[in-house]
């Protein structure tokens, strides 16, 4: 049985709390079952891997909390502390020298979810 790690970031003591929309969503995650996205917290240890990739390996200057991955383009969806959603590639480092003020992002979880369900973000 895989231990559920959907809220793993709360135990990191980095001053991050998950947004309400996400907390509601994880009660019915099957909504995205028809897309290429899945919640990384469903795979034991994978949140830790993704967290370390974005924040340590790719040396992000902004705290990023990964929560979903797409198998289509190996992209991670990550929250920042203001609950904006950024996309981060697993395959190449686009984070180290990121221009966060101008980098593309979704304004919140629901904006990201809406695009995912429409098939616009794969």
């Amino acid at each position: 049985m895989i231990e559920n790690e959907l809220l793993a970031a709360q135990s990191l003591n980095v001053g991050f709390n998950y947004p309400k929309e996400y907390l509601e969503f994880i009660k019915k995650p099957e909504i995205i079952a028809d897309t290429s996205w899945w919640l990384i917290g469903t795979t034991k240890g994978f949140f830790k891997t993704c967290y370390e990739v974005t924040n340590y390996e790719q040396k992000s200057t902004k705290l990023l909390i990964p929560f979903a991955k797409t198998d289509q383009s190996n992209m991670l969806a990550c929250f920042d502390k203001e609950h904006r959603v950024y996309l981060v590639s697993c395959e190449k480092n686009t984070v180290t020298n990121a221009d966060w003020d101008n980098r593309f992002h979704f304004k919140n979880f629901n904006s990201w979810l809406e695009e995912v369900l429409s098939g616009a973000v794969c």
């Binding site: 895989i2 079952a33 028809d34 897309t35 290429s36 899945w38 919640l39 469903t42 795979t43 034991k44 240890g45 994978f46 891997t49 993704c50 990739v53 991955k69 198998d71 289509q72 383009s73 190996n74 992209m75 950024y86 996309l87 981060v88 590639s89 697993c90 395959e91 686009t94 990121a98 980098r103 593309f104 098939g119 616009a120 973000v121 794969c122």
Partner: protein
């Protein structure tokens, strides 16, 4: 005329001059004409072997050979296009002539012909050709795409790439990949394949393999042993929903196969009926199945 020539060579130093002249002609022959003769043999030999390989290639695909098309040698050229090239003066001479002689059918440049001649000389043209060694014990090869099995029951008909910096979206279709392969051969990096416990090869990513089959070209693959450790950077790419992060290439491919729950060839469940991968083509779908 004959008498004059006889008299000329019978002068006191005529014999020495004659020998010097013959030596000079021998040197010219070895320096100039011998490479040309070798080139001619290489060219004719290359195309004789190409024809044989092409016929085997058609036989494998179950298609009728078509010699009316100038590009009939393309499958073989595509296969050798990405091979390493040992440089020697002799080969350079031969390659220059080969390139000129085969320009109408050559889309991969002179390196393809050069290496192709070398590969065919080794008798490797009809089988998998070792191209290079990848990281760890991985070997990069050109392999007949029909000989590699799939690890997925479906392949997306439309591929989407999303630029995480600009937010720009790039869409390309499976048919576009096939057409590109028909025109340009295999482009880009090799795909990762795993040598399964039963000895055969199974691909982790399936789209380009299926496209190579449809295009009738060989696939460029990086072959990993089943028990070989998988690098962290690859492991996270192959981590599947609800499964542990793979530690070996074998775990990565088995994980991928294990999440293929939908019905497949003759209504079989992929993961149950094809635990080592399947030789049957995956279904092309517009969206991921539930």
């Amino acid at each position: 005329m004959f008498a004059q020539e006889t008299e000329y060579w019978e002068r006191p130093n005529g014999a020495a001059e004659r020998k010097a002249f013959i030596d000079l002609m021998d040197k010219i022959d070895s320096k100039v004409f011998a490479p040309i003769r070798a080139t001619k043999d290489s060219v004719t030999g290359y195309f004789e072997r190409s024809n044989t390989t092409y016929m085997k290639h058609c036989e494998r695909l179950g298609i009728q050979p078509d010699y009316t098309k100038p590009l009939f040698a393309a499958p073989m050229l595509a296969k050798v296009a990405m091979s390493p090239i040992p440089d020697t003066l002799g080969e350079t001479v031969a390659v220059t002539a080969l390139t000129a002689a085969t320009k109408p059918v050559l889309f991969a440049g002179k390196q393809a012909i050069k290496t192709g001649a070398k590969l065919f000389t080794k008798g490797e043209a009809a089988g998998a050709a070792v191209v290079a060694r990848g990281g760890g014990n991985a070997i990069i090869k050109q392999v007949n795409s029909i000989e590699i099995r799939f690890s997925q029951s479906t392949v997306s008909a439309t591929k989407v790439r999303y630029d995480d910096i600009t937010g720009n979206k790039f869409i390309y279709t499976f048919d576009e990949i096939v057409n590109s392969m028909k025109t340009n051969g295999w482009q880009g990096e090799p795909i990762n394949v795993v040598k399964m416990p039963d000895g055969s090869l199974t691909a982790i990513y399936n789209t380009r393999l299926l496209a190579a089959r449809k295009a009738g070209i060989d696939a460029k693959v990086k072959i990993h042993d089943y028990d070989a450790a998988i690098p962290k950077a690859d492991a996270r790419n192959y981590t599947a929903e609800g499964k542990l992060e793979p530690k070996t290439w074998g775990e990565a491919i088995s994980t991928r196969i294990s999440v293929q729950h939908d019905k497949y060839f003759q209504d079989r469940i992929f993961a149950e009926k094809f635990p080592n991968g399947s030789s049957y083509d995956p279904k092309l779908i517009s969206r991921r199945p539930k």
